[in-house]
Amino acid sequence: MTLYTVIFYVLAIVILGSTLLAITRRQPVHAVVYLIVAFLGTAALFFLLGAPLLAAFVVIVYAGAIMVLVLFVIMLFRLSPREFGLLSEWGPATLLGVVFLAVAVAMVFKDPGSGIVLQGAVAQPRDFGRFLFDRYWLAVEIVSILLFVALVAILQLSKTRERGGNEGEARVNPVENTSEALGPGAGQRSIISNGVKEEIQ
């Protein structure tokens, strides 16, 4: 039982606990904050398993960029946490998860290779980057195209409303629904946004 073993189990407990807290929250903001803790624990785990560059990427991309993006999007909605419960079929869903987990555990421990103790090794960032661009440069380019396609799709999705026109009919009812569901503040907001829209036109 070396120090690394102890660190691994402590990190595993932190990740599992914060993920469990995250998936049981009804308020998405709380879930995101717990998930940031889980991702930081994952970054430390990557560092322990010999991937320092990936640990840095997880902190930057997952815990930094993606979670902040989710937080900003949550702030775009006016939602009360009471509005969302679990699905009425959450029991079968959890049962399916447990069955999946049992099968996976049985498969992992049936394999004789699972008892092999991991030997510590570190992929230095310089070696890793050279390896990546040496052998997987095409995949890196494809990933960059994928990110570009996502960017174009997001721009297109967020542009459709400003043009108005063909979805004007579809927009009338939802505004009323919003004001009914969310109280006087939301109605006020939709009036304001309509006013702004008229000014633009």
Partner: protein, 101 residues
């Protein structure tokens, strides 16, 4: 000398199952996307452990691609959620009935 490979896979499997439950059980589209992120995270942990087991850097390279794909997925998913919220005023998938006549 860290831990047996099976323990790391067990951790990844537990996290994946939690993400699965989060994906299926919540009726909030943002929580659904968060469940997908948790599952991607579990996959990344399994890949890094396998890279250390066989002492090959391919596993770590794939984790990098998992990261990029999940970034694209979450940003596009959030844009879709915002767009559908503008159309229907709700992010509860049970309320999407504008195709019903």
């Amino acid at each position: 000398m860290i831990v047996p490979l099976g323990h790391v896979f067990l951790l990844a499997g537990l996290i994946f199952a939690m993400g699965l439950v989060c994906l299926v059980a919540h009726r909030n589209l943002i929580m659904t996307l968060i469940g997908v992120e948790v599952m991607m995270n579990a996959a990344a942990i399994a890949f890094v452990a396998a890279a250390l087991r066989w002492q090959l850097m391919e596993g770590q390279a794939f984790v990098l691609f998992i990261l990029a794909v999940s970034a694209a997925e979450i940003s596009l998913g959030l844009a879709l959620v915002v767009s559908v919220y503008r159309r229907t005023g709700s992010i509860d998938p049970d309320r999407y009935d504008i195709l019903k006549w």
